[in-house]
């Protein structure tokens, strides 16, 4: 049941990390936005799926590695990370190539549950269509 005044916010991530700042600054919006108690979902499609891959190591480029920050999202009650299956496949990736991101379910005795949900392109279209506010990065 939606409380009155709660809007559905979708953060659409379509760009790869590091080449540009969009992915990092999108994550900064998500972390701040989490304080506003809205219904938040994150979508990862196209090159955005590269943001969630394992084993990122930025030591050699001297840029901050922000991929561990995705694992903190559960603490911020952001636990709906939708990843498009077709976008993964087109890039030669599977769900196993993504890092594990979990949250503790308050309503289920704090059981750890996966935050990443792999969905089809058609389901992604449905998700986008079910939002009040869409922020694109």
């Amino acid at each position: 049941m939606m409380e009155e005044g709660v809007k559905k916010f979708l953060y659409v991530n379509r760009k790869a990390p590091y080449g540009t700042i969009y992915a990092l600054e999108a994550l900064e919006v998500v972390l701040i936005g989490a304080a506003f108690d809205q219904d938040v979902s994150l979508a990862f499609l196209d090159d955005g799926v590269f943001q969630l891959t394992r084993d990122q190591n930025t030591d050699g480029v001297g840029v901050k590695n922000f991929s561990p920050t995705f694992r903190a999202l559960g603490d911020y009650d952001v636990n709906k990370l939708y990843v498009e299956r077709e976008s993964l496949e087109e890039r030669g990736l599977t769900a196993d190539d993504l890092q594990e991101i979990v949250y503790e379910d308050e309503d289920d005795d704090w059981a750890e549950k996966p935050s990443i949900r792999i969905i089809s392109r058609a389901e992604m279209a449905d998700l986008m269509h079910d939002q009040d506010v869409i922020l694109s990065f």
Partner: protein, 102 residues
């Protein structure tokens, strides 16, 4: 319930237009702005993709951006409607949400 999608990149430079086309729902509208207007021309490599979707979603193109780039209305794909900034605002009002394919 429907969405106004905006695409501002040339389809020959990025996947944004094709990705948008792959995620729209029947009854949505796609507005091509800035370099996105190059996707509205007939006889290009993406014309078929646009024309193929034009039955279920309505395509619009921002007139001032089209004129800036010297594309005459006669070169547009059939069914693509030209709007001005007021028309852009009208489309944003008519649909329930806007999604920018940046």
């Amino acid at each position: 319930m429907s969405t106004l999608h905006t695409v501002n990149k040339s389809p020959f430079a990025t996947q944004s237009l094709l990705s948008c086309i792959n995620h729209v729902k029947d009854g949505d509208a796609i507005l091509l702005i800035e370099d996105g207007v190059y996707g509205a021309a007939a006889g290009t490599g993406v014309s078929d993709a646009v024309a193929g979707k034009a039955g279920s979603v309505k395509f619009y193109v921002l007139g001032p951006d089209l004129e800036a780039r010297g594309i005459p209305a006669t070169r547009l794909l059939e069914g693509v409607e030209v709007v001005d900034y007021a028309g852009f605002v009208g489309l944003a009002v008519e649909h329930d949400r806007a999604q920018a394919w940046l």
